[in-house]
Subunit: 278 residues, 4 copies
């Protein structure tokens, strides 16, 4: 079955859905699910995700034919072929719980992606990664030498996006510009609270009764990129630092996995510093 996903955004105006659905119909497509949403009517911005079957169509043809439609509305858009999997490069430092979760979901067929490599500045994850027959690159980067060029050399060529599954080095603006594709990070705190280092320590100090974890796109400001998914859980005075870390790991795994499921299923539209997650 040829299934395609259209992500589409533009200034709000009349006739968008009619024009797009007519386009799909012209290609003998059948809409499986569609969401359209117009931001605050005054702001006037329109976002749409349409998933449709079109047995006769190919992504190449659709891409060409859609150009005039998008032009009419001045839209940003992308058509994805559901059969094409994205290439997801994974970076990880000392903490391996998110990595283990992602690999298990991938190994069991739930997370549909290609994983060209796992790269780490800790060698200890090699055994786990090898078990899944995936390439593992040990690159002892640290604060003084982030070795960004070496990472870029692989990432630019081999990946469609990167996942920072508790990778603890911050990339430079230069790296982000050169890579230029999406990077998804998991932060072990409930953003916008507790940015930067040791969020659980800060949570403990503040005496919060709920902790959280946040999956977000990376931009040039530390822990300030568009939020994709957040998970939270209650804590009490009985939870010491170890308990927060343990509970937090569950939240991190869940928030990151949810973000990846949404991303790989093309459910996320970035708009300004926010996300629409259909």
């Amino acid at each position: 079955m040829n299934t395609f996903i259209l992500l589409f955004q533009c200034r709000d105006q009349k006739g968008i859905v009619a024009r797009v659905s007519e386009f799909i119909l012209k290609h003998q497509g059948n809409i499986i699910t569609a969401d359209q949403y117009s931001t605050d009517p005054d702001a006037g911005y329109f976002v749409m995700r349409v998933e449709f079957n079109a047995e006769q169509a190919s992504k190449a043809t659709l891409d060409i034919d859609f150009v005039p439609v998008a032009k009419q509305f001045g839209a940003d858009w992308h058509i994805y072929d559901k059969a094409e999997t994205l290439r997801m490069g994974i970076l990880v430092s000392d903490q391996g719980h998110c990595l283990a979760d992602i690999l298990y979901l991938w190994g069991s067929g739930e997370l549909k992606a290609d994983i060209p490599f796992v790269l780490s500045n800790c060698s200890k994850h090699e055994k786990l990664v090898k078990q899944y027959n995936l390439p593992f690159y040990y690159l002892p980067a640290d604060k003084d030498n982030r070795r960004e060029e070496e990472i870029l050399a692989r990432a630019v060529k081999e990946t469609d996006f990167l996942v920072l599954a508790r990778y603890m080095l911050v990339f430079s603006g230069d790296f982000l510009r050169k890579y230029s594709k999406d990077i998804i990070n998991i932060h072990h705190g409930f953003l916008p609270s507790f940015k930067g280092a040791d969020p659980y320590g800060k949570a403990l100090e503040e005496g919060v009764k709920v902790i959280g974890a946040t999956a977000h796109f990376v931009n040039e400001k530390l822990d300030e990129g568009p939020i994709i998914a957040q998970e939270v859980e209650s804590v009490s005075h009985k939870d010491n630092r170890d308990d927060l870390v343990r509970k937090g790991r569950n939240l991190e795994k869940k928030a990151l996995a949810n973000a990846l499921f949404s991303y790989l299923d093309h459910r996320i539209i970035r708009h300004g510093n926010k996300t629409i997650v259909f």
Copy 2:
């Protein structure tokens, strides 16, 4: 601003969205938000909610013009004018927490409905209801005399739907057929567990670690109508019966309020014994 909501359901087939959006465009409408969803591709059932502005249109015209569209697809459908509020009759027995919550939300303008009356088999709620300048009818119905004809006399004429805000008498099939419109009930248990009387007692006996409340449409089987909303909360061995009841009241208020918000905003489609809540 003339805003309309279309609810639409039919066997899945090509061209539905195109035809419907063309219809809206023809009436110079602008789609604010739309959700389309095709049930399991094999089952092949299509549901849709579209909210659109159409300054020149009236409900009367839309209703007439939409007939051929619906006919083409063999669809069940309804167009609502967002400016028209539904008439919501409220029935309540001894427990008044859901009533108080609904009335407060209504009084503060959040819950947009007309309330033709509150009817109760307990006189004690009169004071609260009168405070909101709403008609209160005391009708001492009980298991031996449900006084359904008297309730029907008012309900059929004065309401678009009924809310059982902890009304503890079960209506007969005869009542349901004669009333024939929607009835929304709040059950103080996590259905399908704990149907019928004393769900908190049963929850305590089973030693569950999570309790719940369920808002659902009423049908002829007790506590088995389509579920609209469910709320849950953790409990522990420290929670005695009173604690469960207290926590449960919060869940009941929230599940019922959520169900009413969805219903009044025309976000619910009933399909078989299930609901789609957009």
Copy 3:
């Protein structure tokens, strides 16, 4: 049944529980529930709550007899007679949802407190308050004239603690010192994020996927007092400002009610800038 609650805190040391339970036994008391908790063994701070029946005992006797026990350990402590209700003064500004919730819980007997008055800088709440036969004082305070002396005149004399049920004026340090008893505030944001004004606007701007509300003790720093209870709920791009406000109101009501239940049941110990909520 004479039921008492002991709250007790001191530097950790051996024999505390033995000494305290011996004290209770000496008064022919029976422990109903007890929680002891030693903070991080290194930090070495001990907190305890004991609820016990003692049919022959009076608070006066217990208070005298406990002095040497407390002295031995250098403890802060308080014994409460469960039959004595605290006097809770309520302050509220424009938003009345927390007030309505508190009054309903009070009227239904769930919230066991005396309410000497509701004081507001908005006259509109009078009707609701009068319905419960409670004194209502309208005091048109604003940023330029907080009228703290007038509030103090009543509060010091008539209350054991104050609840700011969405009271939007910040009290001066002078007020806090003169009042010197506990003040519980509900903040409509997930502290420590979104302190100060318009937390929902800020949450919307940040694009968070979870919002929250926080009940906390008031101290001299705005929205930085010890946190008592936090409630959270998921939001999505579909939720506009009104939706956040509506969902937030539920969280505020629940967080504040939970904090009040804990406070009135003497379940809260303040320690530094944190709370232990048993």
Copy 4:
């Protein structure tokens, strides 16, 4: 540091805490954390968990010295040495997500237990288990031949308790009696709803808006043993069977891990068909 945990239950009566804490003091112990709880005063049942340091004490001495204390109150009790880890045998069938989660938590040092073996009627888990250098036994049991004697031969000798981490064969009453120690099962449904096979299919059919998973002790009635932990998550009409299964796996992992953390930390008291989880 010699740390011990006392679990204690008996008919409620005066002086228990005094006697027990005196016992601890006599062994120069220091209470780290303690919870006492008297069930509904009328029912009159008392449960207690005390964690204490006692540098000079040994479990052997404490066991002997505590006998008269327990005798005085007619109590069931157990003293655990926190340094002694329990031996946890794991059984698993086709679905490996709970197994993978447990092994990861174990490998990272969070789950403090000895794992004498993983036994499965599916050979495919061997690779994962071997990665952790743990014994893996493949035993192709099925409904027609449960091979209980072979399982018993290992389990009785090598384990302190068993975990059914999605083991899909039901044990006979005879097995349970012969094994006679605790068995913890994870059920992929929100008990008491959806007992037995295919709970996600049933949940889908009922159109519930919240799904759950339940960790419980096994007894002779299928899925009716005392509940230890339950986890829940919202679902919508958009979630098909695969989505429920995927979301459910997270709930199962979390409920089972929480139950194991509680069990290994000696936080669970069984009383009748319920648990107290401190």
